[in-house]
Symmetry: C2
């Protein structure tokens, strides 16, 4: 139906961005070396500390999330340093690639895709490898939808001379991850996931322990040099030209989050993901990850389903964009984001399209069965409020 | 859930406008007395003729739809002229108010709200009132969702010295209304309905018969003087300052409609309204109008339902805006637009919210029952395409 079709984005990065935020970003540019911008920077810095739940400074780069992952590596380590890499999917593999690229000595904890790492396994590996200086792990492994037990791992790492580096790109702002309270040493985030912004900004914060290690780090660095950013921050500016319009959007989103409170934000994502999972069960489908993150729902598709055709059909004919699986999961899973500017009614759209696609491409199920679950969650929620 | 809520507009004016169109309109203004603008004007004029299905010129005003209704009156008639007014709702009443305000002599065909006028009734009234110079009628009566039999009325009027004036504000572009082929003498449209634009533009076209009558019209006029606009058009401009940004949006929408073709546009609205009506039936609710227009679906609400509370709840808590009834229909109907930038998936949202509201405010119905009907329409449509 050509021009009457719309696009509905349900991928776990990029995520849907609120049009009010996009319009804020579409305002004429302001210059980043003027007092006006310093003020904005100050506000952003304060609200980032709120988001990270830390008293430390949070730095940002004009880069994708991978940039901040690289920043963690080059600022913390020296060539030949030993690190534990938790590899449970595409982004665990990215930690490994980064470690290898910078000449580190990785000890890999290989976890089957879809499973979460066990804290005991981390503890054992640490005991067997006394030389280890850091642990690289994801909070949420976006490729499988798994949630790793960060709190428990932090407990184990706390008393050791080891830094815990958490890629929280698809987790921070979605569920509880208090950096200081849990003792996370390095936390990384990106703009295009939980922050509901376009891609292009990454974030990183260091604990005291991480700073101490960073003093001795010998890996070469320039763009991602945190000490350079630290110096610039002290002068109320940034080391390099910042991504101004993205920061204007960030300022708006952080303000909104602060006004809403993290608690209510987490509750929103809890309800969204709960409703989606109920729907998946109602459709007699399986949730792929062992311990699912609230960031996205990953569905294991049944054998009979022509998943690739389904995704292609929804994208080109209905305007619904879901993510499929990567690498060996291609054709075997469907990933639906909860991150971004999304309500329960948007989820109704996603599931309506999913039900349609399932029926058209080899998995017959009664239409409306999944949606009903989302509606029931809405009903229960408002019935309580109204009574 | 505060900032995470969105607004979903389902009212029959204003209607949802595509963000691409809104962004086109947000471009820097161009001046309306430059050659650049004359070119745009030319393009708009040609595509308006396509939309109206006429070889005559289509004029526009910076005004609401009522402005073009007034333009019809002041350009066609003289004080004391006799006109037939078909009054079957709020907008029929507007014709009457206009006729009285300008000192015409109205003969009212009063039709109960929700019913369509019968062509025989028009014929009889014409026979009884030989002095009548014009008939004022709506194509779609937006307040009740009724579709009047314009083709049949035109047949009756054709051979007489009477002009047929059709307010097609919520009809033109939604279903077949070929001005020249059917012999409609004056056709009126507005930007905020079928054209899927913001309010602020009205349109009017005159047949040869209407022009002839207009030569003798003695009602005072200035802003809405069609002959003044005609003169300006000949100079490739407008008589007064046009609503430039709205015209830029109009140009975009007309281009899209032309590319899509009217045929496909009508098919889109046919399917949307069909799906909605199936859903209403599945919810065991009644369609209010006798002959429903494809422009909107008007639901007669059951006695047990607290309609006002439902509408208020959906608007303030869920962000869904439906229209209620006007005047004596207040609390008795719910109106859901199909006009504007809307897909079948958006309709799923509307019905999901409606089902929720019905259950919360006194009309228990199984959740998901209405939505299923929309999904079935989607399924049938795509199954045919794919097989």
């Amino acid at each position: 139906m050509d021009f009457l079709e719309k696009r509905y984005l349900f991928t776990p990065g990029p995520v849907p961005v609120a049009s009010k935020v996009l319009l804020t970003m579409a305002q004429p540019l302001i210059h980043h070396r003027l007092p006006e911008f310093s003020k904005i920077l100050e506000e952003i810095r304060e609200n980032l500390r709120y988001l990270f739940q830390t008293e430390k400074e949070v730095y940002f780069f004009a880069s994708s999330g991978t940039g901040a992952m690289e920043a963690a590596i080059v600022n913390l380590f020296s060539p030949g340093d030993s690190v534990i890499v938790v590899s449970a999917g595409k982004f665990g593999e990215r930690w490994l690639e980064l470690a290898i690229s910078f000449g580190l000595n990785p000890v890999v904890i290989s976890v089957p895709w879809g499973k979460a790492v066990k804290p005991e396994e981390v503890e054992e590996t640490l005991k067997k490898n006394a030389q280890v200086k850091g642990i690289l792990v994801q909070a949420c492994e976006t490729s499988t939808g798994v949630k790793h037990p960060i709190k428990e791992i932090a407990e184990i790492v706390k008393e050791r001379e080891v830094v815990l580096v958490v890629d929280a790109i698809s987790a921070l702002g979605i569920y509880e991850l208090p950096m200081d309270a849990w003792g996370i040493d390095v936390m990384i985030a990106g703009s295009q996931k939980a922050l509901s912004l376009p891609p292009g900004l990454s974030f990183i914060a260091f604990s005291e322990k991480a700073y101490t290690l960073a003093q001795k780090a010998k890996l070469p660095k320039y763009y991602f040099n945190l000490f350079q950013e630290k110096k610039a921050y002290e002068k109320r500016t940034t080391a390099f030209t910042p991504a101004i319009s993205l920061l204007i959007g960030l300022r708006e989103m952080l303000k909104r989050i602060r006004e809403l409170t993290l608690e209510k934000l987490f509750e929103h994502y809890r309800i969204l993901s709960l409703a989606c999972r109920k729907a998946v069960k109602a459709l007699e489908l399986e949730i792929f990850p062992e311990i699912p993150s609230e960031s996205l729902t990953v569905i294991k598709t049944p054998e009979s389903l022509r998943t690739g055709e389904l995704l292609n059909f929804l994208r080109t004919k209905i305007g619904i964009v879901f993510a499929g699986g990567q690498d060996h999961l291609k054709g075997k899973i469907i990933r639906i984001t909860h991150m971004g500017d999304q309500t329960l009614l948007d989820l109704v759209i996603a599931l309506s399209a999913l039900e349609l696609g399932l029926n058209l491409f080899g998995y017959k199920i009664e239409l409306g069965r999944g949606i009903k679950s989302v509606q029931e969650v809405l009903y229960e929620y408002y019935e309580k409020i109204l009574s």
